[in-house]
């Protein structure tokens, strides 16, 4: 009860903790996206004379902030490019999955009948194959490419948006204001854009945030398994995977990208939890 009152009183403000998480998240994402501007290098270039130099936080004399890897490449620079790749892949996957899922959810919810049954059957089929295996099958068929991972995210991601939008629409369809609008002669598309999308926006935003951390996880897992990106391209999972062989002597090679993955996922899920409590009080305490 107390919590509820607190929330109502502080409705306009963002808690400093959440603000901090959001700002740091955008700093990481921004640094990654700007990688070609901050450090314009050729990712394939190697320099074996400079291999495995300690990072400057372990050796104050080292000129490299995060050291160099087994091929003599600056880890800090590679990290920026890795973040960039992970962010680009998971964000574009997220956008396509959201658009596709929302569209199918609207179609499914509005039309009902066989269309609805067919779409929900496909959701079942998709859910019976665990996400990682969808990645494995597609990487096997299409090869390990960034576009494959985007496709995997789309295929695995759409169903949750579809289910959410569908259930919201079925509820909304009965609402009086939709009925009123229809009786005044508004067409189906107009109702969708003017009333339905606006009303499902906030649960959708919550869902997008919650799913995004899963997409980042999926991207890093697939690239860790060697099913996401071909060298010399890099992503956070690739860096962890290649740093693994040097764990005993050069632990930071695997640990630095691991920390970045965990931090990014944690930032998104904490912000997502907060958004859900704030925008969608009905869902509070769920999951």
């Amino acid at each position: 009860m107390m919590q509820r009152n607190k929330r109502r009183n502080g409705r306009s403000g963002i808690p400093p903790m959440i603000l901090f998480l959001i700002i740091t998240f955008f700093i990481i994402v921004g640094a990654g996206l700007l990688a070609p501007v901050i450090a314009p290098v050729d990712l394939a270039e190697t320099d074996l004379t400079k291999r495995l130099i300690k990072p400057s936080f372990l050796d104050p004399l080292s000129p490299y902030l995060m050291g160099t890897d087994n091929l003599g490449r600056d880890v800090a620079v590679r990290l920026l490019y890795a973040i960039r790749e992970t962010v680009l892949i998971s964000f574009s996957g997220m956008m396509i999955a959201t658009a596709l899922g929302t569209a199918l959810g609207i179609i499914s919810g509005l039309s009902g009948g066989y269309v609805d049954m067919a779409i929900s059957f496909f959701t079942d089929v998709r859910l019976s194959v665990p996400t990682t295996f969808i990645g494995i099958i597609l990487a096997c068929i299409l090869g390990a490419k960034p576009t494959t991972t985007v496709l995997v995210i789309t295929i695995t991601g759409w169903s949750s948006f579809c289910r959410l939008v569908r259930s919201q629409i079925i509820q909304l369809k009965k609402a009086a204001f939709i009925e009123a609008s229809r009786s005044m002669g508004a067409g189906g598309l107009r109702i969708v854009f003017e009333h339905i999308l606006i009303n499902i926006a906030s649960p959708l935003i919550v869902q997008i945030t919650m799913e995004l951390s899963g997409f980042i996880l999926l991207e890093s897992t697939l690239s860790f398994l060697g099913l996401g990106i071909e060298p010399p391209g890099t992503s956070l999972g690739v860096m962890v995977s290649s740093g693994r062989d040097y764990m005993l002597t050069h632990w930071w090679l695997a640990m630095i990208p691991s920390v970045v993955i965990v931090v990014m996922i944690l930032q998104i899920s904490l912000v997502g939890d907060w958004l859900r409590d704030r925008l969608d009080p009905k869902l509070k305490n769920r999951s």
Binding site: F121, D124, V125, L127, S128, V129, P130, T131, T132, F133, I136, I137, A139, C140, I141, L142, S213, L217, S220, T221, F224, L225, G226, L227, G237, V240, R244, M247, L248, W251, A254, M255, S258, I261, V262, I265, L266, S269, L270, D273, N285, R286, S287
Partner: protein, 305 residues
């Protein structure tokens, strides 16, 4: 209820069939396996022989029917690389995967459920806060990061536990931890929130008023009603557990079906991949079927409708 069960079973069978068909055709339409099985510059006649041996000379629909019937007669086809029956390959490797998954599932329930109950009963206490913040970190930690961290600490630095492959019971410890932290966290979180929803109900006050002991009220009247969402999430967790076991098996060099499917995918060994996906889809669908049917046992309201 009977009608519901029959419909539900039919739907499950149909789902598995659809997965099989989809994966079968998807893997076949993307090129000729013979091209990457033979070395560059192999003669056409050598390619033709290989194609005949693998049964790839038949039209696609005949291949499909042959392998589909084979599933029922025990002929699951031969792996391109190992040149052995696919089902034999799986039979060898299923035990490591099942034993690992079984232990993880057991531990998840054994730890996750009581943790969630404790956190809910001591709502907003220090214990609740600690459990829930640990759960947040636990559920955001990727399997492979956790696995590598465990290997680094316990196998490389402290040298107390083996870093991989099967053997003694000790070999199980790290993979089990790496796999179970996520599910434990989700089960604990969900048990807590589901029990918190139930705990506010009047019938619990009524039970207390009757003089029933508090723990009995929580377990018998509270938890029983809070279990349905928890069982749902356990079903969903199994799917992500199977997905996660692929990653953990790779990290710990575990000789299970996960590593078999990943290496087969990298080698484009289609019969193995298709059969593997079939096995996994079937087990996920079967568990979800059990989950759906168990609602009826737990909740009389559902049983009657």
């Amino acid at each position: 209820m009977k009608r519901y069960v029959i419909m539900r079973v039919l739907k499950a069978v149909f789902t598995i069939w659809a997965v099989y068909t989809l994966v079968f055709f998807l893997t076949r339409v993307t090129g000729d396996p013979v091209d990457w099985l033979t070395m560059a510059g192999a003669s056409d006649s050598a390619k033709e022989t290989l194609r005949e041996n693998l049964g790839l000379d038949l039209p696609l629909w005949k291949q499909y029917i042959k392998s589909f019937i084979g599933l029922f007669t025990g002929d699951t086809g031969e792996s391109y690389y190992y040149a052995r029956q696919v089902s034999d390959l799986f039979a060898e490797r299923i035990w490591p995967t099942i034993s690992l998954g079984g232990i993880v599932l057991f531990i998840t329930i054994l730890i996750g459920l009581p943790l969630g109950v404790l956190a809910a009963v001591k709502h907003n206490s220090l214990l609740d806060r600690i459990t829930m913040s640990t759960a947040v970190i636990g559920s955001t930690m990727p399997n492979f990061v956790l696995g590598i961290l465990l290997i680094f600490i316990f196998a490389l630095k402290l040298r107390v536990l083996p870093s991989g492959s099967m053997g003694t019971a000790k070999n199980y410890i790290l993979p089990v931890i790496a796999l179970s932290v996520g599910p434990i966290a989700s089960v604990a979180r969900l048990t807590r929130s589901s029990l918190l929803d139930v705990i506010r109900n009047e019938y619990l006050d009524f039970a207390r008023a009757k003089g029933i002991r508090e723990w009995k009220v929580v377990i018998k009247h509270g938890l029983r009603n809070a279990l349905i969402p928890v069982i749902t999430i356990l079903g969903a967790q199994l799917s992500s557990l199977i997905g996660g076991s692929v990653v953990v098996e790779t990290v710990f060099a575990w000789p299970g079906i996960g590593t078999l499917i990943v290496t087969s995918a990298q080698q484009r060994d289609f019969p193995v991949v298709v059969f593997g996906v079939l096995v996994i889809a079937a087990s996920v669908t079967f568990v979800n079927l059990l989950v759906d049917l168990s609602y009826g046992l737990l909740d009389p309201r559902i049983r009657k409708s």
